[in-house]
């Protein structure tokens, strides 16, 4: 695979492409300092606290790994406003509509907007991203669009993508459709203004994806991310959310459909910086074969942020003795009148439940599929848009780990549900 060694030599890569990188002298300067930082720190290893369960440097060197893939997710039934990024470059720019302004990062930087490259000071991978990002989406939402906005990533090459979404008013449904086979480093910066909502549904079906999503909830806005990892050798989905206004609500939900040698890591940090803010973080992992799942969830409640409700739950269903799950829920609370809880559970497929279903005439394969699908119904339920939920349910149902996936009757049932 091409992504391996070249990724490790960011400077060489930068020198190859820097003339093609968008942005003026100021942006180039920011890129050079980010590159210097990236080279100094290198790729994270287990020694970095945030990467203790995901040894990125090692995982990216596994060039001979058998690709772990699912079928590509297809949301075309929703006719979304679609931006297609192939090998890190936008190839298809939609027009947008009355309340959606869409631009490529390359265009935005060409027109002189410095702020779209954002900041890389607090995150190692964001530094690599800032140095090397060639393209991305710059989207402004002002009102509730009729269509969802889809960011589709594909190709076999290394890719660094940097997206910026500003939701001024209304509710936007975003789809991040991650199909690239190579290594992708993506940064998604989301800003949600008071009263607005950003609903993100993310499907990774292939590749080595390292994603950082940074969200600011400026008032009583809401952000909800539901991520499904159905394929891919490496998935790292890191979400940082700042809840900055009373009434803000953050949801971070993940589902790992682990098979083969998949390594999937759901890391989040939610900062409740003000009172009366709520959050719910969940992970449902089904791990077959030698799949590895990671849940790292941190909730920080600031000193005066009273009446915060923050819940974290990680649940894993282990289908194989070679599968592995690490869970590290963490609460850091400085206020004294809050309702915060976390939990981590791990179990096997329930043999009694399996017998119950079989005793009603449902064969073993279909019964297994039904139970595991049932376990994965919780994250699906967090997808608000019904049509999108049905699309994702069909994709999930076709990739339920530990099943032959030939129970098409059950698939249809789940899609109805």
């Amino acid at each position: 695979m091409k992504w391996g060694p070249r990724m490790l030599d960011a400077t060489a890569h930068f020198e190859t492409i820097h003339e093609r990188l968008p942005g003026g002298a100021e942006v180039l300067q920011a890129r050079r300092s980010a590159l210097a930082r990236a080279e100094q720190t290198g790729l994270p290893t287990r020694r970095n606290e945030g990467w203790h369960y995901t040894d990125l440097a090692r995982l990216l060197k596994q060039n001979d790994a058998v690709p772990v893939r699912a079928n590509a997710f297809d949301a075309n039934a929703l006719a979304p406003l679609q931006m297609v990024f192939e090998n890190g470059l936008l190839i298809d720019e939609p027009a947008g509509d009355d309340c959606v302004t869409i631009e490529s990062l390359a265009h935005a930087l060409a027109s002189g907007a410095r702020n779209h490259v954002g900041d890389a000071s607090d995150n190692d991978m964001a530094a690599f991203n800032l140095a090397l990002a060639q393209d991305g989406a710059v989207i402004t939402i002002d009102g509730t669009p009729n269509q969802a906005v889809e960011l589709l990533t594909r190709g076999d090459e290394n890719a660094h993508l940097r997206h910026t979404i500003k939701v001024k008013r209304g509710t936007v449904t975003l789809i991040e459709n991650l199909q690239a086979n190579g290594y992708t480093n993506a940064v998604l910066d989301v800003e949600v203004d008071p009263g607005a909502r950003a609903l993100l549904v993310r499907i990774q079906s292939a590749g080595h994806h390292v994603g950082l999503t940074r969200v600011s909830l400026n008032g009583d806005g809401a952000f909800c991310a539901v991520t499904f990892v159905t394929g891919g050798n490496l998935a790292r989905h890191e979400t940082h959310i700042r809840l900055l206004g009373e009434g803000a609500r953050a949801d971070v939900h993940g589902a790992i459909l682990g098979h083969g040698t998949m390594h999937a890591d759901m890391t989040s940090q939610l900062n409740h910086e003000i009172a009366k803010t709520d959050s719910l973080t969940t992970l449902h992992a089904v791990l077959d074969d030698a799949a590895q799942g990671v849940f790292q969830g941190k909730v920080v409640v600031a000193r005066d942020a009273q009446h915060v409700d923050a819940q974290q739950q990680s649940r894993a269903m282990m289908l194989s003795e070679r599968a592995h799950m690490s869970a590290k829920p963490e609460l850091e609370i400085y206020a004294d009148d809050v309702a915060c809880a976390h939990g981590a559970a791990l179990g096997e497929l329930d043999a009694d439940a399996l017998f119950f279903l079989r005793s009603r005439g449902i064969d073993e394969a279909a019964a297994r599929h039904m139970l595991i699908s049932g376990f994965l119904a919780a994250p699906l339920a967090h997808i608000e848009n019904e049509d999108l939920r049905a699309c994702v349910a069909a994709h999930v149902s076709a990739h339920v780990p530990g099943c032959e996936n030939d129970g098409e009757g059950v698939n249809a049932e789940l899609a109805d549900a």
Partner: protein, 263 residues
Amino acid sequence: MALLEIENLHAGVDDKAILNGFDLTIQAGEVHAIMGPNGSGKSTLSYLLAGRDGYEAQNGNVRFDGADLLDMEPEARAIAGMFLAFQYPLEIPGVTNMTFLRTALNAVRRGRGEDEMDPASFLRMVREKSRAMGVDDDMLKRPLNVGFSGGEKKRNEVLQMAVLEPRLAILDETDSGLDIDALQTVADGVNAMRSDARGMLVITHYQRLLDFIKPDFVHVMVHGRIVRSGGPELAEELERSGYGAYLGAETGGQGNEVGAAHA
């Protein structure tokens, strides 16, 4: 041909003998009740007949409609017409009651070589049967048994029976955890399913359930076998005198048999 014919059935769990030469024959149209104290092997019998893992016969035969039941997977038994109403119905998160019922019915129909039921006919049929069991639309839309009360779970079991229309229904302690009104509803549902083509085996610790579901035959089970059989009056007698006499008689009986074998 008998609907169910159990001959000299022996079974145990972890070296402990639980069924010791159990015999029972049920004809279509008959309702049999098995009564016995805790630990007499009633639940083992029902799990073994339904095919639960870990419940294996060590000896004996079970024929269901002439076929060797013990060779069949649990789903094949259901397709053949066996139904076990669970003492403790399982909760299945994420699978709605309705989806479960439709999947089960269509699996059974496919297994019987019949066409699947179309969604409209299915909905009509389930609505009608649910109403009779006091199962409302909300319970049909909720995940299977999740958050259901004890009574709701048992009514839901009988609804499954009504939908699957088995040849033989085994009711394992169906009265446990039910108040008198719930018991009446459940019993009405079961009684509505009595027919010349269907057999029933009611397993219970208490006589109370048999006031609502009148059996044709009552058997007393102790230490893994039937020690006495009779009509409905036997249940009333047990209610008055308890199982004490049988526990003693069984011990004595075994002693005599052993003695006879040695003689």
